[in-house]
Symmetry: C2
Subunit: 324 residues, 2 copies
């Protein structure tokens, strides 16, 4: 049984809304839990970055509803192998992120964990009723847009995993991370795209549907198509992929295609959204936003069209987490 | 370095308020994380009870602010040794609690854990500005009140731990839990005291300070005294202790005093609050509320007076958790 089916079965009758945030009036809330060994590997995750990232992810979910983050609660459970200094680092990173995005840390608790570290962040935001954006509003012929570039966080993870394996084989080995700064930062210190939310507001554009890209473009597209009861067509040559991402892929294996990282690599935390065609003129001039395809009718599949005009049906097949 | 000092050091500059909930206007929010092996032992915690309890604890923190619970987000991280049926049980218990207390489960996520189960509940409530109750409002001569009875949840834990040890020594042993129903239910399925919150509202009583009793009466009294800059005097003979709690203590050891369970045993989730003396007539007729002492001046210690008129200084010395 897949994860989506499992969650649907278990939460049946609980009234869960299954979007990026729960919506209570004009308040949007989401809780993110990061578990050591599953969501992060302590071997290559500086605690300062972890503190930053834990909050950044929760803010990204606020952004995905077209909201602005306001408060957060941060709870950590740690085993006693963590020193106070290590935890200081975690909170320092958290503080940098909360300062940058104007989020007030209003509560949380610290407790004991028997095995590793568990971080839980609850982010609370606000959104004007008329700007609230769900996954379910996409309509036939809407343009599909995404921010930033895709697959780079996964490329960063690939580099870190490679260096880890090398180090484990030979502890005298010095990891060489030169030239990978962009993809590493994308993985270790993602930025929620509040700048895009601001641009959309400044231009008076309200997306018809939106989500963030946390488990690959394919997964996010399928979420929007399922919620909006529609299909989609995106163009491979339109997908924004950074040069460094392509280089990492080619270093790893000739079978590792950059487009696969974009479709199935996780943790980009870019925004995926749809707009009505009449917003085309506004969108096309916005820096950092790419129009990658359009929404098709109900009953149509979600597909990617290659430069050779081949049509590939998209499946949610996010690259597996650390231990899956 | 103690836990309180640690949290104070780490959250310095984050603007945490250190009360039972974070307060945002008339909204109160808290997040509770339960970690397997630390906060619960899977050997004697039915998952249905765990689902109930996880939400009940978060609601209790809403009650402690004099608020009413409205919504909750529930996230669980589980390793794959949990079956779908087991998780069904968890959500069934959760649903019973959310129905009973009128809480809508509006979101959450299910993720993978490498080791054991981690449950995170964020509860959101509302409170009228003029009824909001912090820990810091107690004043000299205020009466100290508590609801229900104390130490019984800890007595339940003692019984379960005893049966576990016996079972581990001899797996053919059938745990005998007859006659312990009250203390077991107190531990496994605590009830947030929303009924007390309602009584206080119906009688137009606003406590000057309030918190819930999650780590023993002594700990909660000290929280109020520290936050309110005052001392307190409570009377041993006034502490409400159930007959079954006393019986369990006497079975365990002649050194295990019921009053120690009340002062230092955790997880009662009763309410501890202070009221002005002029509310005495209203309070004394309320079922389930006990007046146990009064607030003394700043600079005075927090003490318990025994029937022999001996004064014992209270210390936060909650009985240790499962692995501490």
């Amino acid at each position: 049984m897949g994860k989506v089916a499992l969650i649907e079965r278990l939460t049946n009758g609980l009234g869960c809304q299954g979007d990026d945030c729960a919506v209570i009036g004009t308040t949007v809330v989401n809780t993110q839990t990061l578990v050591e060994g599953v969501d992060f590997d302590m071997m290559y995750t500086p605690l300062k970055h972890l503190g930053y990232k834990a909050l950044a992810i929760a803010i990204s979910n606020i952004a995905a509803m077209n909201g602005s983050p306001r408060q957060a609660l941060v709870s950590i459970a740690v085993s006693n192998r963590y020193s106070v200094e290590a935890l200081d680092e975690f909170y320092a990173g958290l503080r940098i992120c909360s300062d940058r995005y104007g989020v007030q840390i209003v509560g949380g608790e610290t407790s004991t964990s028997r095995a590793g570290m568990v971080v839980t962040v609850t982010a609370i935001g606000e959104v004007k009723k008329e700007r609230l954006t769900w996954r379910h509003g996409a309509k036939h012929n809407d343009l599909i847009c995404c921010s930033g570039d895709l697959g780079s966080a996964y490329a960063g993870l690939l580099v870190l995993e490679r260096e880890k394996v090398t180090y484990q084989a030979n502890p005298n080995f010095q990891p060489d991370l030169d030239g990978y700064d962009y993809v590493l930062e994308r993985f270790l210190k993602p930025e929620p795209r509040m700048d895009i939310i601001k641009k959309l507001a400044d231009s008076n554009v309200v997306p018809t549907a939106m989500t963030d890209i946390s488990r690959g473009l394919a997964d996010s597209l399928l979420h929007i198509c399922r919620a909006s009861r529609c299909g989609c067509e995106v163009y491979e040559e339109r997908l924004p992929i950074d040069y460094q991402t392509s280089r990492v892929c080619s270093e790893m294996s000739k079978n590792m295609l950059p487009v696969s990282c974009a479709l199935n690599g996780g943790e980009d935390y870019e925004l995926l959204f749809t707009v009505v065609q009449s917003d085309y003129d506004k969108i096309k001039t916005m820096d950092g936003i790419h129009i990658i395809g359009y929404i098709t009718e109900e009953g149509m599949p979600a597909v990617m069209v290659t430069p050779q005009n081949t049509t590939i049906t998209l499946r949610a097949q996010a690259f597996q987490g650390l231990d899956e």
